[in-house]
Symmetry: C2
Subunit: 468 residues, 2 copies
């Protein structure tokens, strides 16, 4: 994983100098610096270096801008190190996610040069297991596929992390999408099961699966993202279909059903599903989104997928119950949120229009395929509709498009949205991407954005599964 | 080596908090931090800490003041570290010299506490080898002795370092003084010999012994402090007297003689000894000092001590030659610099008065004992005399006072000068100490001053050798 200006090792450096290294592609790993004295070799003080690792050039180039982020500044991949005696070889103890490395010489009393700077990348994905992409793929889709696979590769660590730079957690929502791409690439199904069990082991007293867990500290369970909990059953169904392995799925199925039960208890007498103050309904990274319609649709989607899973596991009685419940909620949700005049799903008392509502009503089969096509087509031209900001929701847009046969629009969207990232130079797909707003950040500082994010890797799944 | 407020481990800490730890006494070593989550244990970002190690409270308390030092800022013992997952135990890879440790929590997203912060001190001096101080010592001298021994202990590493915080080098001038104290305390004569050989191995093409060497990189020889080179022979003589070991001294004696020869070649036709541009004549840490008289006196001192050494080694012919040369230079120097009217030694064309000149003329036996007493007494009251700023030159003042029988004044000086440092709270003696100028620094920033410095440890030698 090394590529840099050929003569960077020869250059003599001193206090005040800055070196930018480009490792040629994104990687996750440990870095080793080898540094030797230069010039007449005389120096009489330690060498103090600042290191800034970046996935994108701006992270290192703009490392000195004031920090205004809403998350902890410690996510910025920055170090200050000292080498007391040269030559020296220092392996930094931490893991970084980066393609770029900036090294500032903050203090020294002589000249030095870099004998070498190397990175040992780590991943639980083995590229040797990855089949070639489908034959006949054009250059654009081939590039998108390659970047999607690279994104998953960097996220495959002890768990499937959401972002190897920032967060570094196993999120259930991301896991569901990573498992899809894993099935058509690295096929490390043991890792998927490890993640399913880790999440299952971290339920709270009520039995709710957390939105995320931390790899080595299960005790620190993360956010209660209830829409993610509802996706646990659908993730099990995917795993059964993709891996063929029943035992893990059988063991965890009751826990999936329990997630439905926890939400079921919160329905109001009016048949609506109010958000609970202790729970987070994620859907997408946008605060202004009214989530009511998408949330109930996620519940219905979960009912239907769990019913399907029950049938696969031979538990037909449960399947029937879930199917009946899904049909009831589906009818009620349709009456409540679907506007037959406009052909669009609304949400909340303000009857907000959003992509999220159309997507989840499609995926939950609340609309007929024809209605879904009308809704998904109509929302693209609806003024003021709340658009997706994350590849996560754009993924479900793709799923919805493929689900109702709008394959052409799906391929177009992949080429536009993910293709744009590739054209901007991405070698892994980003956590958030809002075309035209390159510095958009949900965290108030784009340097915190993850430029290699699990939920963005799914075009490779569609390409390898559906491309003909 | 641990002492701190009893409840510091219980306190919950978060971003913005600062902890000051006092380890109770000065030490040199490696530090290990053990940190655990606190409160509800939730956090989702690395913990970023700044650590500042200080020998004196001001170094840590005033760590944020702008840096104006003339030496590399990397001497400031500061680190930024990250702990990705808690609990964690981090042993820092570097060695620090400190009594105080300031820890700033720069960034974190939860609460944490210190389970422990420990230091493993290192020294090549074993306290078990140190005899008790002379019986009957009063409290003041006992404290000075204890601080002197502690200073040497911290400086005894792979080599005898001048300052374990800053510089960390083996200086020949410091070695000479450390060897004296070592002989009455740790008695690690193997370390003394190691240092003598390291210096001897680092001569330049002309055969000049450097002023200093770096421990692990002999190639990087340090300053050519020619007055130090002249002290090589006297140091060998001390070593023979103090350790009784001839073999090392015999092996290195010719090199000592060669230092004299190198200086001998630079005498002018007028019999004066001009400073050479490529050489540094140190004498003391004060730029305004005219060094001419002290330099020639150091040369004469070296001639006499080398002559004594030659006699001990049975090389009488050499001894005679050196004695004759010393007598000639002594007479000429006396004529040139000694003012019989004032009873003071002058230096340079401006006839500058300084302690340094009186001291070295005394030590070189250029003055009679009576003249020395007059000179050393007179200089203390001479207006505008250049005073010592370093304990190094104050040490030679003590030697001079004891040499001409002014023992009372010597004890008074120890109680005043070194005693003042103890009264200011020193638990090791400082590199520079100018009473009334607590922030005096030869480096333009007092935070660079070493507060544990080899050349300051010698009162223990006088106390253990001369106290009755």
């Amino acid at each position: 994983m090394e590529r840099a200006a050929t003569n960077w090792r020869d250059a003599s450096r001193r206090r005040g100098d800055t070196l930018y290294l480009d490792f040629g592609r994104h990687g996750v790993g440990m870095v080793t610096l080898e540094i030797e004295p230069h010039g007449d070799g005389s120096y009489d003080a330690p060498l103090r270096l600042r290191l800034v690792f970046g996935e994108l050039p701006a992270e290192v180039a703009e490392a000195d801008l004031p920090y205004r982020g809403g998350l902890s500044q410690s996510w910025i991949q920055e170090e200050m190190i000292h080498l007391d005696l040269l030559p020296d070889r220092v392996m930094l103890r931490r893991r970084y996610a980066f393609r770029y490395l900036r090294i500032d010489c903050l203090a020294f009393s002589g000249s030095f040069r870099f004998r070498n700077v190397t990175a040992d990348t780590v991943s639980s994905g083995n590229y040797a297991s990855v089949a070639p992409p489908p034959p006949g793929l054009d250059v654009e889709l081939a590039a998108i596929d390659r970047v999607g696979i690279a994104t998953l590769h960097s996220c495959m660590q002890n768990v499937l992390e959401d972002g190897p730079k920032r967060d570094r957690r196993l999120w259930l929502g991301d896991l569901k999408l990573q498992a899809l791409v894993n099935s058509v690439s690295f096929r490390n199904f043991a890792l998927i099961e490890r993640c399913l069990y880790l999440l299952a082991a971290a339920t709270d007293d009520a039995g709710l699966i957390p939105g995320c867990v931390f790899d080595r500290t299960i005790a620190a369970r993360g956010c209660d993202a209830v829409d993610y909990a509802l996706l646990f059953g659908p993730t099990l169904l995917d795993h059964l279909e993709l891996s063929g392995d029943r035992s893990c799925v059988e063991e965890l199925f009751d826990l999936a059903l329990h997630q439905l039960e926890l939400v079921r208890r919160t329905f109001g007498a009016d048949g609506r599903l109010p958000q609970q103050p202790q729970w987070w309904v994620f859907i997408d990274h946008v605060n202004t989104l009214n989530r009511e319609a998408a949330y109930i649709a996620t519940y219905i989607y979960s009912l239907r997928r769990n019913a399907e899973l029950a049938r696969r596991l031979g538990r037909d009685a449960i399947a029937v119950e879930l199917e009946i419940e899904a049909a009831e909620h589906s009818r009620r949700a349709r009456n409540c949120f679907y506007d037959e005049t406009s052909g669009l799903v609304t949400s909340g008392t303000e009857r907000q229009l959003s992509f999220a509502s159309q997507i989840w009503f499609t995926l939950a089969d609340i609309l007929t395929p024809e209605e879904s096509i009308r809704a998904l087509t109509g929302i693209e031209v609806a003024p003021d509709a709340v658009r997706p900001v994350s590849p996560y929701l754009w993924h479900y847009m793709l799923e919805a498009l493929f689900a109702c046969g709008m394959n052409e629009r799906a391929w177009q969207l992949i080429r536009e949205y993910w293709g744009d990232m590739v054209r901007y130079g991405a070698d892994t797909f980003w956590e958030v991407f809002v075309p035209g707003e390159m510095k958009f950040s949900p965290y108030n500082d784009y340097r915190l954005n993850s430029a290699c994010h699990a939920w963005s890797c799914t075009p490779s799944y569609f390409i390898r599964r559906y491309f003909r």
